[in-house]
């Protein structure tokens, strides 16, 4: 392995950015491909697939055998709001492979008692997100119903190109939210990325059912990365 390739790869992994190490198994030469880099032909198609699935493996292309080692950051879910839905969502998402962090400055809601085994921040999103910035491998669900808490996080999620951004509330609530986000400087294209009303339409009614709808929509967004939003590079 090229020492420079190893250094580059580790730097990308530390920064929670996706990268693929492409090794020619014939001559041992290797290089790093970052998400969004253009690679032509069959090899390029295989690389795009590996970025989407996260699966590593050998590939035959251009009469040669390459090994693609896909290094994708661990996807995670940040939930704004320590509410009833979040109590169901946190364990479900963790089981599905999406570790959860919950942020809610209202200390009556954000108690370890209500959220055992979850990373919980009884703080304003501004404070948490300045320490642990959002990124393209983070999903954000805003479920407090309170603009004071949700709006900043939603804008930050759009700016960080989070792979999923969802906001709880009716169409009417969302229309008002759109006005506020525009005032905060969000573009119409950014706002169109928000899933609102939140969750896949499965007719969810109870908090736990809504949690299932949110989780399903998160998984769908993660697995279709690069298919709907072309050029959306984290």
């Amino acid at each position: 392995m090229d020492p420079y390739a190893l250094k580059t790869l580790n730097a990308e992994r530390r920064a929670r950015r996706a990268a693929i190490l492409v090794t020619d198994l014939g001559d041992g030469r290797d290089r790093i491909v970052r998400e969004g880099d253009q690679v032509a032909g069959d090899l390029g198609a295989a690389i795009a697939r590996a970025f989407r699935t996260g699966n590593s493996g050998p590939v035959e292309a251009e009469g040669r055998t390459f090994f693609l080692n896909a290094h994708l950051p661990q996807p995670r879910l940040v939930v704004i709001g320590a509410v009833h839905i979040s109590q169901a969502l946190a364990p479900m998402a963790k089981i599905a492979g999406y570790p959860v962090e919950i942020v809610d400055p209202r200390t009556a809601f954000a108690t370890p008692d209500r959220f055992p085994d979850v990373a919980l921040h009884a703080e304003w999103p501004q404070d948490v997100l300045s320490r642990q910035p959002l990124d393209g491998y983070t999903a954000l669900a805003a479920v407090t119903h309170d603009p004071k808490i949700d709006d900043f996080a939603l804008k930050a999620a759009l700016d960080a190109n989070c792979f999923y951004v969802g906001a709880l509330g009716s169409r009417k609530t969302h229309a008002k939210r759109v006005e506020r986000l525009l005032a905060l400087g969000a573009t119409a294209d950014q706002i169109a990325r928000i899933h609102a009303p939140i969750g896949l339409d499965i007719g969810a009614s109870s908090p736990a059912e809504i949690a299932v709808a949110i989780l399903a929509q998160t998984i769908h967004a993660f697995r279709s990365r690069g298919l709907e939003a072309k050029g959306a590079v984290a």
């Binding site: 392995m1 090994f67 570790p99 990373a119």
Partner: protein, 125 residues
């Protein structure tokens, strides 16, 4: 930040595993060894068949003294990979190793689980 009693921040982070575990990550260790001026080989699982214990892409990193970190199997074939890796460090020529019950003639060690794996061993630099 609220955490469960007696749970440290580090444990909470490890549980979530959204950050690299620098002390155990084979590729981070390999880079550190390289900076210390050590000769290093990197072994990578490139293909698996059947019930292989570690997924494709897993790494074992080895230095010239036979120190190693990571894994390419559940401990079944690491010894053989380390031996090969020391040769690779000496020659600079990468090798493809194959392990599995189907391959008893080529290799003394096999995967007792019945799987088969291909491991690519290369020198760093």
């Amino acid at each position: 930040m609220f955490l469960r009693e007696k749970q440290t921040l580090r444990e909470a982070i490890m549980e979530n595993s959204i950050y690299l575990d620098e002390a155990r990550d084979p590729l981070i260790i390999a880079e550190g060894w390289m900076k210390d001026g050590k000769d290093v080989a990197i072994a990578t699982v490139v293909e698996t068949w059947g019930s292989a214990p570690r997924p494709v892409g897993s790494h074992l990193v080895i230095d010239a003294d036979g120190n190693f970190h990571g894994s390419v199997s559940g401990g079944c074939v690491e010894g053989a990979v380390v031996t090969e890796a020391i040769d690779v460090i000496g020659s600079g020529k990468a090798r493809m190793l194959e392990f599995g019950v189907a391959d008893e003639t080529a290799w003394q060690v096999g995967l007792s689980c019945g799987g088969r794996i291909k491991v690519y061993v290369e020198r760093l630099g």
